[in-house]
């Protein structure tokens, strides 16, 4: 319906940047309210212990301490943190309450809270809290958990959160007749989102109004509001979740956590605003971890490498409680194990095991990063065993365009309609192979250049996007002609304001500088879906498009009233309503907005819309390639070159899409080589600071080429968008793992475990006598 689209598809500079570049952004810790107190949390130093007693007297006596409380002091039924996603039967036995009652189950679990006039005093007081713990044995592996020897939640009678089997076709048949099978165990390292800004909240709770206003909210504010209202026995409209600038989310931020209850409780107890800002040590133990799975994967193929079946056991280490993300990680790992390939039979035993570690949740590409690593590593082993080139093996098995759409079967319980939409998977791989010069490299695997062994690895992926409830938008024109977009979607720093403004500007045919985007807060729109699963551009973007389209219609209606004429003869173009070609007969949006307002206080030039994709997901897909150089003597790996292709339907803002791909890829290099939540046998986190928990830095960068393909627009929205936030990360460990193995083909090692560290690689090489 647009005549031109100068903004959609252009690398429009970000509208958000100025405030971030000048230090005038407003992140949660930048918000200060009158009479605000500060909260700090005493967290369990034990992984598993009974609480015999808690003595807060000394803490309360510190000058400047306003209040201190523990579970016994809270005058309400402690709610459980709800399940938002993948709420499988059985999980209800393992939900967390905001503060420990008689037992702690992981290091970092809240035990007591101090409220003080400033953070220094609050932390002084934490040191004076006396808790008598009776330590219990810690469960720190899925095997230990499965044994059930030590129960973490005694009432459940087991440590198995839940367990199910999913599949399609007959794997028994496939495996019994198969000429070739191979089975391997893979593990992916527990790590997390670790955004640069830690979490933080400010609560203002006036029980008389009643009003609970919670600043620092993001991601799924309307879901969270509903549950907070229920927990505090308030009507929903008495709870306001306010979104500030957000310093990165990547899946972990904006879920309901214990602090989302404790900060309001603190405010209500003390009748004043209370702020809590997570410190980094807390962040590494209290914010959701992710990725921690063990996968036994078996494949059956014909002699020419055609996949006949796959069967697997996926064991997810859930940590001590099941939090809002439910079983997403392991269930999505299982669902995505077959990947974009023709896998006629598949079965998977999926187990969710409770351990004495930090609870898990989603991190960018949840389950996909893990599944791709396991499957793509195994495919390279198949290729080697059958003496088939790895790219050729993949091309023989990738689904062809004619096979799509493809119903993948009920690979997550209840998800009966999951369907890969149209696409051309071989095209994405072939373009990758061309770009990376695969034809040249495939016969040079293991080549020693300047003393280091070189290898090129490839991996394919498919990735769902834009699931979940409808998204909302309201577009309003002010009498000065400026336009405001409000949406229920959040921004976690990815450029939401810019992207939505681009769409609105094109559909209203106006200058983007006139647009202001407000997002996230529950005070802006009546409801909203939120921001996760690479959905903002698809869901909020289409809601804004629909609102803009409705606003054009509304403009014409208003112009018809103003001119006292029939709407049929009027046309909306160039940001105004035109009557024929008479240059004098034009009403601008500003004029129409002023006219609307003159008609009465409830009249405005505004339009609302909600976009619902009715569960029809768009799947992005593509391939990654890594070229590595390995120093055999030290085990040090350099990723020299990295290429990825990602089909995203249509790029709203190519520079921002590039930013997602490159940022995701570098995050993925961290997950492959560095990021690791290491626990000892007592359940103590050994990597609880940035000195120990390593993140990628600027010196470890390969030469990167990220190619966004726009060959297969989504059929499920008229702008053709698919999600573009996660394709950069999901196949990194897979491609790098394959590259390292190829580089070391003279030594015959395999990589089945992440992260790939020099120590582990040297140990593997030493075992071969190298």
């Amino acid at each position: 319906m647009t005549t031109s689209s100068p903004y959609i598809g252009a690398s429009v500079k970000r509208l958000e940047d100025r405030r971030f570049l000048t230090g005038t952004g407003r992140y949660i810790d930048d918000v200060k309210l009158p009479d605000m107190a500060v909260m700090a949390i005493y967290r369990s130093p034990h992984a598993h212990a009974r609480i015999n007693s808690i003595d807060l007297a000394a803490a309360r006596a510190v000058p400047g301490v306003i209040d201190a409380f523990c579970a016994a002091d809270i005058d309400m039924d402690l709610p459980v943190i709800p399940l938002r996603l993948a709420p499988f039967d059985g999980f209800e036995r393992f939900l967390q309450r905001p503060i420990a009652q008689d037992k702690v189950r992981f290091v970092g679990e809240p035990v007591a809270v101090v409220i003080a006039s400033d953070r220094y005093i609050a932390e002084d007081a934490l040191d004076l809290i006396e808790v008598d713990f009776a330590p219990l044995p810690a469960v720190t592996s899925v095997d230990q958990a499965a044994s059930g020897e030590t129960l973490i939640h005694e009432d459940a009678g087991e440590n198995m959160g839940t367990r199910y089997t999913v599949g399609r076709g007959d794997t028994d048949d496939a495996f019994s007749d198969a000429p070739y099978t191979r089975r391997e165990r893979f593990t992916t390292n527990r790590h997390g989102a670790v955004p640069m800004e830690t979490r933080g909240l400010i609560a203002e709770f006036d029980p008389d109004a009643p009003l609970l206003r919670l600043y620092g909210a993001t991601k799924v504010n309307f879901f969270n509001r509903r549950h907070l209202a229920a927990a505090f026995d308030l009507p929903e409209e008495a709870v306001e979740l306010i979104e500030t600038d957000v310093g990165g989310g990547f899946g972990a931020r904006g879920e309901l956590y214990p602090e989302d209850y404790l900060v309001p409780i603190a405010s209500r107890r003390n009748g004043r605003p209370v702020k809590w800002i997570e410190d980094r040590r807390e962040n590494l133990t209290a914010t959701n971890h992710s990725r921690d799975i063990v996968c036994d994967l078996e494949i059956a193929t014909s002699n020419d490498g055609k996949i006949l079946g796959m069967r697997a056991t996926v064991q997810g280490d859930m940590g001590a409680y099941v939090r809002t993300n439910g079983g997403v990680v392991a269930s999505k790992a299982a669902q995505f194990l077959p990947g974009p390939y023709r896998v006629p039979s598949f079965s998977c035993d999926v187990q969710f095991l409770i351990t004495n570690k930090t609870p898990v949740g989603t991190f960018r590409g949840p389950g996909r990063f893990e599944a791709n690593f396991c499957r793509e590593r195994l495919l390279d082993m198949v290729a080697a065993d059958l003496n088939i080139d790895p790219a050729e093996l993949r091309l023989r098995n990738l689904m062809e365009p004619a096979e799509l759409p493809y119903r993948i079967g009920e690979l997550v319980p209840g998800d009966v309609n999951a369907t890969f939409d149209r696409g051309n998977y071989p095209s994405a791989l072939n373009q990758l192979l061309d770009e990376v010069g695969y034809a040249d490299w495939k016969d040079r695997q293991g080549e020693i250049i300047d003393g280091r062994a070189h290898g090129l690895g490839i991996a394919c992926f498919i990735e769902s996007s834009a699931a979940g409830p409808p998204e909302t938008a309201r577009v309003t024109v002010a009498p000065d002609g400026n336009i405001e977009i409000r949406t229920g979607a959040s921004s976690v720093g990815q450029g939401t304001e810019t992207g939505l403004a681009q769409i609105c500007a094109d559909y209203l045919a106006i200058d983007i500088d006139r647009i202001n985007v407000l997002h996230g807060s529950t005070t802006l729109v009546p409801t909203g879906g939120g921001t996760f699963h690479s959905r903002n551009t698809v869901m909020a973007g289409n809601a804004v498009r629909m609102a803009a389209e409705a606003l054009r219609t509304r403009s014409i209606e208003l112009a018809a009233l103003r001119w006292n004429t029939d709407a049929g003869g009027l046309e909306y173009r160039d940001g105004a309503v035109h009557r024929g070609d008479d240059p004098g007969s034009i009403l601008s949006l500003a004029e129409l907005a002023a006219f609307a307002r003159s008609r009465g206080p409830d009249e405005a030039l505004a339009a609302d819309a909600a976009f619902d994709n009715e569960g029809k997901l768009s799947y992005s897909y593509g391939a990654h390639a890594a070229l590595v150089a390995v120093d055999v003597a030290t085990g040090v790996i350099e990723v020299k070159k990295y290429v990825l292709t990602e089909e995203i339907g249509r790029a709203l803002n190519p520079a921002m899409v590039q930013g997602q791909a490159v940022g995701g890829l570098v995050q993925g290099l961290g997950g492959t080589f560095l990021d690791h939540m290491i626990y000892d046998e007592d359940g103590q986190l050994l990597t609880g600071s940035f000195a120990d928990y390593l993140l990628p830095t600027s010196t470890e960068l390969p030469e990167i080429t990220a190619i966004a393909l726009e060959e297969s627009p989504s059929e499920f929205n008229p702008m053709g968008f698919k999600g573009a936030g996660e394709g950069g990360i999901v196949a990194v460990a897979a491609a790098v793992g394959n590259a390292v193995v190829h580089a070391l083909n003279a030594h015959g090692i395999q990589i089945n475990d992440l992260p790939i560290t020099p120590n582990r690689l040297r140990a593997a090489l030493r075992a071969t006598g190298t």
């Binding site: 690398s11 500079k13 970000r14 958000e16 940047d17 100025r18 405030r19 971030f20 570049l21 000048t22 230090g23 005038t24 952004g25 407003r26 992140y27 810790d29 930048d30 200060k32 000058p63 400033d118 953070r119 220094y120 002084d124 670790v194 955004p195 640069m196 800004e197 830690t198 600038d245 957000v246 310093g247 990165g248 990547f250 410190d279 980094r280 976690v492 720093g493 990815q494 450029g495 520079a655 921002m656 590039q658 930013g659 490159v662 940022g663 995701g664 890829l665 570098v666 995050q667 600071s689 940035f690 000195a691 993140l695 990628p696 830095t697 600027s698 010196t699 960068l701 990167i704």
Partner: protein, 161 residues
């Protein structure tokens, strides 16, 4: 612990004075006492670089320095980089290169990069990579940040000719 020290310092060309406890970090002093919240805290143990400011010409992690150590110092924070409404060459290059997403680490990168370019107006790509290796960014993958710093260096050299 509540003994207060009177502190005077110059921040972004303006003289400030305040009373601080000896244990208060310079970062907290800037944020809480002077209300300059552009300086962000990402780890509070000197690793992430988000809180980097310029103290007497040197890039300093303000979480690792006590406010009282800044007595008499000349400090530049992110709020002092632009010239009124006009972004600095470096800020503009960050904008033009999509060198920020969530923006939380950006103040530390800008201040670090200012000191790099002051010391070495013509850095190589490798020198820039090395010089910002103590600053962590979780969003961008660093590539556009490096591009932006190199482009700013070039624009500044061209501007001086």
């Amino acid at each position: 612990m509540t003994e207060q020290h009177h502190l005077t310092l110059t921040v972004n060309g303006r003289a400030h004075s305040c009373d601080v406890e000896p244990r208060m970090t310079l970062a907290d002093c800037l944020r809480e006492k002077l209300d300059l919240t552009g300086t962000h805290l990402g780890c509070e143990h000197g690793v992430c670089g988000a809180c980097t400011i310029i103290v007497d010409g040197a890039a300093v992690r303000s979480c690792l320095m006590f406010a009282v150590q800044a007595e008499g110092a000349e400090i530049t924070t992110v709020e002092g980089l632009a010239d009124g409404e006009t972004l600095s060459v470096l800020q503009q290059a960050f904008h033009d290169n999509f060198a920020l997403q969530c923006g939380f680490c950006t103040p530390g990168f800008l201040t670090t990069a200012e000191t790099i370019l002051a010391e070495n107006p013509s850095p190589t790509r490798a020198e820039v990579q090395s010089a910002i290796s103590g600053n962590i960014c979780r969003c961008t993958g660093y590539v556009p940040i490096i591009d932006a710093i190199l482009e700013a260096a070039e624009r500044r050299r061209a501007g001086k000719k």
